[in-house]
């Protein structure tokens, strides 16, 4: 079940320009515990990729490895074709990153920190900073250490967006935000992606957030990438089959595209299938007595990661 499902978008015909963000066979261990087990993932230009996984699945580690913040034990990560571990200034200027729990420079005031960081980015949008600070009611003279976690996260979001990045990487950006803040952030991400073509990678375990803005989705489970697909296509390509006992008894092999299989509470089996882009539904769907239902993304996530 844990094998990577080959459901990615169709392969490009021409050799494309370097992807904003790519990982190939990333492996990372901490104290003999494998956190990433050979993850390969490419974030195509202009896409909004939602990286979803349970707590401890390795989302943050994957993001850090892809950005070159940690050194993987094996595999490579590139940012616009450059090795992430040796990223140059040009790539860094085009990149915005919001960590999960921002805690850097807590001894500075909000305005002081943003002014300092702004000096490093040629396309820094000071007007955006001022307007957003005012809109989110964040005083410039407040110490970062005195802000609540949600406010710290908002400041980090402003810091990342003000540089007008072409690649935006957000690690659980909504985890400390209230519903209003979350909605605003998602709207901002969607508008950046839509208007400026910003490529976005964001991790979350809140499926509704992902459904709201993501164009693509990747499922990470226990350090393995189980699935990487376009979101709309994914919704159309999955089914949960309720197989009655009589039919289930005749099943010898895995059903093509089978993701999970477990006993149905009322007898028989419950099998979740995910067909490939152009593959037909398995024959089992046509068998009399077998009922099929399309799963919402959240249920599919649970089935995949169960």
């Amino acid at each position: 079940m844990n094998a990577m499902l080959d459901v990615s978008d169709s392969a490009p015909l021409l050799s494309p320009p370097a992807a904003p963000l790519a990982a190939d066979g990333l492996i990372k261990q901490y104290d003999h515990d494998s956190v990433l087990k050979g993850v390969s993932l490419t974030v195509e230009p202009g896409t909004v990729l939602g990286l979803i996984g349970r707590n401890g699945a390795g989302k943050s580690t994957l993001i850090r490895a892809m950005l070159g913040l940690i050194e993987p034990d094996a595999g490579t990560a590139t940012v616009w074709g450059e090795p992430a571990l040796r990223m140059g200034d040009a790539a860094k200027q085009r990149l915005g990153y919001v960590p999960q729990q921002p805690e850097a420079m807590a001894w500075l005031q909000v305005g002081e920190m943003l002014d300092f960081i702004g000096r490093f980015y040629p396309r820094w949008n000071a007007a955006y900073v001022d307007a957003t600070l005012e809109r989110w009611q964040l005083p410039r003279n407040r110490l970062l250490a005195k802000l609540s976690p949600g406010e710290r996260q908002r400041v980090a979001i402003i810091r990342a967006l003000a540089s007008q990045p072409e690649l935006l990487v957000l690690d659980e950006p909504a985890s400390a935000l209230d519903p209003v803040g979350r909605r605003e952030l998602l709207r901002e991400i969607a508008s950046r992606a839509g208007d400026s073509g910003t490529t976005v990678l964001f991790s979350t375990h809140i499926v509704s957030d992902l459904e709201r803005v993501a164009s693509h989705v990747a499922f990470l489970h226990a350090g393995r990438l189980l699935l990487h697909s376009e979101l709309d296509s994914l919704k159309e390509r999955n089914l949960r089959l309720h197989v009655p006992e009589a039919v289930a008894a005749q099943l010898r092999d895995d059903v093509p595209g089978e993701v999970s299989r477990r006993p149905h509470p009322y007898g028989g089996l419950s099998i979740t299938v995910l067909r490939g882009e152009d593959a037909p539904w398995p024959d089992l769907v046509q068998v009399p007595g077998v009922r099929a239902e399309a799963l919402p993304l959240e249920d599919l996530f649970i089935e995949v990661s169960a």
Binding site: S60, R64, L67, G68, L69, I70, E71, P83, L85, R86, M87, G88, D89, A90, K92, Q93, L95, Y97, P99, Q100, Q101, P102, E103, A104, M105, A106, W107, L108, E112, M113, D115, F116, I117, R119, F120, Y121, L143, L144, A145
Partner: protein, 481 residues
Amino acid sequence: MNAVAVSAPARGLFGDTGAALAACTLRRHRWLVGIVYCVLLGLGALLGAFGPTGSESRADGLGFFVLVANFSIWAGWFARLLLLQSAASGLRAPGAATAVRWALLWAALVTLVVPATVLLSVGVPPSVAWGAPVLGVLGGLLFSVMPPPAAIALLVLPGLAQMFSSHLPPMQPWHLVAAAAVGVMVLAACIRTLLRAQDPGAIPAWRRPLMLQAPAGMVVWTDPKSAAVPDAPAIHDGWMVAMPRPDHAGPHAPRAAIDMLLAGPMGYLGRRATWKQWGFLILAVAVLMVIPFRGDTPLIRNALLIGVVVGLLASGWTLALRLERQRRRLSGELSELALLPGLGTPAQAGVRMRHSVMRRLGQLMLFALAGLLLLAWMRGLEWSQVALLLGMLAGTGAASLLMCATAVSGGTVASLRMFLLMLPLLIAATGTLIIAMIRIPLDGQGLAWTVVWTILTAAYGAAALVPWRRSRDRAHAFLLD
């Protein structure tokens, strides 16, 4: 909150009580404090076994070791139960609060009754046998829950009392009772403040308990693997602490930007902050020069010398440990530095980072040199003894370089391996300190000490080259663990 930064403990042999004792600090810290406690009691036992029987000094010596042992274990470990109690109250967890109370009671019984019984059985008078452990417990608790200036005053109080003993009236029993009563009242007030605080970490710096002063509590000094919390909540309102401002840092001054972001001992300070720090330093030196310590107060002079030597040994360690802890702060300043444009190529940024470390280390050693020379002059040491102290400074500098190089190369500073590596330095420094304190003439030993410090300096310097080269081979200087 930095009160209880530990994982959920398993219920062990002592059930909830044991769990509370385990939960209030980390295993490594418990071991360290426990070892110190056992060593002190062991020294006391040696004195009891081999000291002259029946003498008053033997009883006082035994009492002293028990007092210091109790002080250390209560200050280092059991006082942290109060933080757990505060957290339990805040979380409305009456079961946990009860367990903490039982743990406090158990700890008090063990550290009072057992030593007192042993002392009584070897013929120590009851007043000492009971008084010493009680004083140790109360002193340890008081030291932990008082703000740093008051805690330090508590430590120097015995020395001051001895210093001014000729000017003070003879000590009467009621003096002791009154002093103990004041101590208990202060202790009660401090504990009350701690338990009533919603977040003990948010208590204003001037009255924050000593055990919460270090980032994440003193526990992190024995365990850099524990999540390092930002410095700011603990020190932003500390009026004596100057934190770096970014006024003059930027892409035009990348090294200042690196220093600014690394902060702490690495911190790049503005002119005002620098003047403030120098002002305090000059004031401290002036106080030392003016007050009449030079001629007739060996206790204070020795304390100053010990303080400077311990500070010298600790400064490099502190810097290295801080660099190591930065690597474990996943969303801290290092990740900011790693993605910030304008700091140069990875190789250039690495060189700047290493230069920053070297510069800070050099500054720390210069301060130590100034302190040692000042004290040598105040004590009127011979040139040979001054040369010995300078040898110690060189050896410590090389050892500090080794620790800092280990930290920037991704290695572990707080490890048994590093402790064993530093053991020769600690032994040689202790010997040097004793010679300087007692002013032992170096007649025939000068050459031997020169060889010792030359070898140690060369060995640590050579050993530092290995991690230093490894740090240059890293993909970039700001890698997280």
